[in-house]
Symmetry: C2
Subunit: 128 residues, 2 copies
């Protein structure tokens, strides 16, 4: 066995790995978008639906429940007829958006470079 094989095992191998656990949630189609919208304040189900525009009720419901389950969002039911349900970020949800903002800033700053890289990749592929 070569020395090169003795790679120090990074924390991403922890069981369960925290960052992978987190990415499994916000890496999906809608979670980040919903957290972003909720950063503006408390909103009702139908408000979220309209604010996002192209999300189905099912995915909005499922995603909100997962975010609630993980403690990012608090759901408040007012037992009226018709029912009124409000969603708001928890402290955990708000604190998550702090490091996330850095990543978003990076993405905005480097999106052009990524798109250029894709163009280069395809151009090189055309040579083959």
């Amino acid at each position: 066995m070569n020395r090169d094989d003795l790679i120090p095992i990074p924390f991403v191998f922890e069981e369960p790995c925290p960052i992978r656990d987190v990415l499994d949630r916000i890496g999906d189609q809608w979670s980040l978008l919903i957290l972003e919208v909720l950063a503006h304040g408390t909103m009702r189900f139908s408000q979220l639906e309209r604010a996002i525009g192209d999300i189905s009720k099912q995915m909005l419901s499922k995603t909100l429940r997962r975010l609630e389950e993980d403690g990012f969002v608090r759901r408040t039911l007012y037992p009226q007829v018709p029912p009124r349900v409000e969603y708001q970020l928890t402290d955990l949800g708000r604190s998550f958006l702090v490091p996330m903002k850095n990543l978003i800033a990076w993405a905005n700053a480097n999106h052009g470079a990524i798109r250029d890289a894709r163009g280069d990749y395809r151009a090189r592929g055309a040579d083959r």
Copy 2:
């Protein structure tokens, strides 16, 4: 929470949205893990395979090609028999890991809170 903590929505609706574009890559099963491992230095295909342990050749190959396509990783082929291929982070890949480390730190710090929230959620669910 004061007004300045509020994050403006607009950029998540950009077409195409940079952060969603980025998350589509590193939000998958293996990308972040591979970037982490490559942060330790240049590695060959089979080294990556052994370092990660439970990744299939297919997924390692696919993921590396996507990372290469997006400019996070550089692939170097040495035309020998048997072939030798080395992978290393590009400047873009390394710069990505900077904001990513903040998010990882958050995940590590708050993983307990998330797991607690899941426990609470299930406990409340048992009442229903």
